[in-house]
């Protein structure tokens, strides 16, 4: 019986989150618009995450380059290391790793901030002042996420490839000519767009989930802590599932 109850609560919660996302959409197109809040959030979510995303990107590129070199040298195809790394980065690793890094750094912060505002009645207070908290707090965070996820994914792409280049040319001693030439051959603009398309969707999903977990937090600091844990778990899993579905659809041959 408690299991049925828990399942019911989970379904109800999911339904409420969908309504929440709908409410957010409706408010996003209604004046007053608040560009200054969007910019503040872009700085917090995007600019603030540059360091962690850049570091992850460089290391992911370097490690991938070394691993691909190890595998491809057995086929005598070292020249293809750069292209393989670039395809893996642009289509999969950059959007997914970037999203996971932002969830850990900024997603958790969003839930904690909104959750604290909820349990200390700041969100209620805002409502009593004739301001929609969804419009004031949630809309800017969602817009900022949707805008900044692709930007950070591009940062990851660029630095990841730079890391791969340094490792490939200076450590694995692959000639620069074929390294670059094969990369140009293997990577098409569609690969980059595929990755950026994913990151747009990830940005929206992460922002809605983390905002909702904070917005619906109950029961003091414990509730905020629980909400943050759930937000990180839920958005990470959502990213992986959406990524899988996205990839499956894109590679399916008609």
């Amino acid at each position: 019986m408690p299991r049925v109850k828990r399942l019911r609560a989970a379904i109800e919660d999911f339904g409420e989150m969908i309504f929440f996302a709908g409410e957010m959409l409706a408010w996003a197109f209604r004046p007053p618009f608040r560009p200054e809040l969007v910019l503040t959030q872009m700085a917090a979510i995007g600019v603030g995450s540059t360091f962690i995303v850049a570091t992850t990107g460089v290391f992911a590129g370097m490690v991938l380059s070394l691993q691909f070199e190890y595998a491809m040298s057995q086929l005598g195809a070292q020249g293809y290391v750069g292209g393989s790394v670039a395809v893996a980065l642009t289509r999969e690793l950059a959007p997914v790793f970037t999203a996971l890094m932002i969830i850990g750094r900024s997603g958790s912060a969003i839930t904690t901030e909104l959750g604290t505002m909820r349990v200390t009645e700041q969100i209620d207070a805002m409502e009593t002042m004739a301001v929609s908290p969804v419009q004031y707090l949630v809309v800017p965070r969602v817009i900022a996420s949707v805008a900044m996820f692709p930007v950070l994914t591009m940062v990851f792409n660029a630095l990841g490839f730079a890391g791969a280049y340094v490792m490939g040319i200076y450590v694995s001693r692959i000639p620069a000519g074929p390294f670059i030439a094969h990369t140009r051959e293997l990577v098409v603009v569609g690969d980059i767009l595929h990755g950026l398309g994913k990151s747009l969707v990830f940005g929206a999903a992460v922002a809605v989930i983390t905002c909702w977990r904070g917005y619906s937090a109950r029961g003091g600091s414990r509730g905020v802590g629980e909400g943050t844990t759930r937000a990180v778990v839920m958005s990470s899993i959502t990213i992986l599932v959406v990524d899988y579905a996205f990839t499956l659809i894109s590679v399916a041959k008609p």
Binding site: P32, E113, T116, M117, T120, E121, Q122, D124, A125, M126, E127, T128, M129, A130, V131, S132
Partner: protein, 249 residues
């Protein structure tokens, strides 16, 4: 005028309000007294539409708040100010931005200087100087937070002000001060006030009318004298301790 008509509310199996009716005349102060968990805050949240009744209705100045949703509700709230129990100041904003918030949002045509002037004026009314404008709520004492919250609730000149336990946790001097503020707001600005409290001394000082809430019902309602004369056992017990203390002094 605020009219609460036969309001019922439950959370899960917990029936919190069981048919509450009261009427608050324009320009008067109405205090709802009750112990912890008696449903006072729940009742107040119905007046400003943060909660919807399961049954019954709430009408403020001819507008049925309990039936409004979304944008209409947001519009209707423009005439309200509310002071929350713990202040509920925005902790990411300075004192200036907190007090300016309702002004900026409700009267978008105001210039920065006009807003600042009104903020300073309202802070002066609660005895706070310009030096705290740049401070954050975390840097204020409990009493100061409460006064800033009071200034924020009054800054847009609302016609209805709701106070959620305005004197809880304050020292006697600040309590007296907050009581004066409530009386002052009524007399000078003509606001209709609803105060919820378990502080009997304060309540009898500021109230034109009182109601005592007990177990989701109204145990007594009327002028302070009428409530004091109530024969209801809970009301007698609730008031007895305090009046005994008064007479022994």
């Amino acid at each position: 005028m605020i009219e609460i008509v036969d309001v019922w509310k439950s959370f899960g199996d917990n029936q919190v309000l069981k048919g509450i009716s009261m009427r608050i005349e324009t320009g008067t102060t109405f205090v709802v007294l009750g112990g912890s968990g008696s449903g006072k805050t729940v009742l107040m949240k119905h007046v400003i539409g943060l909660l919807k009744p399961d049954r019954g209705r709430v009408v403020v100045d001819g507008v049925e708040i309990s039936s409004l949703r979304g944008r209409e509700l947001t519009e209707a709230r423009r005439s309200f100010g509310m002071v929350f129990q713990a202040g509920a100041l925005f902790d990411s904003m300075t004192v200036h931005d907190n007090v300016a918030f309702p002004l900026k949002e409700k009267q978008r045509q105001l210039s920065r200087d006009e807003i600042r002037a009104q903020v300073v004026e309202k802070l002066r009314v609660v005895d706070l100087g310009e030096e705290i404008l740049g401070r954050y709520p975390a840097e204020l004492s409990g009493g100061m937070k409460k006064r800033v919250a009071l200034a924020r609730a009054l800054v847009s000149n609302p016609s209805v002000v709701l106070y959620d336990e305005p004197t809880t946790g304050l020292d006697p001097i600040t309590t007296d001060y907050v009581d004066d503020m409530i009386v002052h707001a009524k007399e000078r600005l003509g606001v209709t006030s609803m105060v919820i409290s378990h502080d009997i001394a304060s309540s009898f000082k500021v109230a034109d009318k009182l109601a005592v809430l007990y177990d989701g019902h109204i145990a007594a309602q009327g002028t302070p004298e009428e409530v004091r004369a109530s024969k209801h056992p809970f009301v007698q017990k609730f008031l007895a301790l305090w009046f005994e203390k008064q007479s022994s002094e």
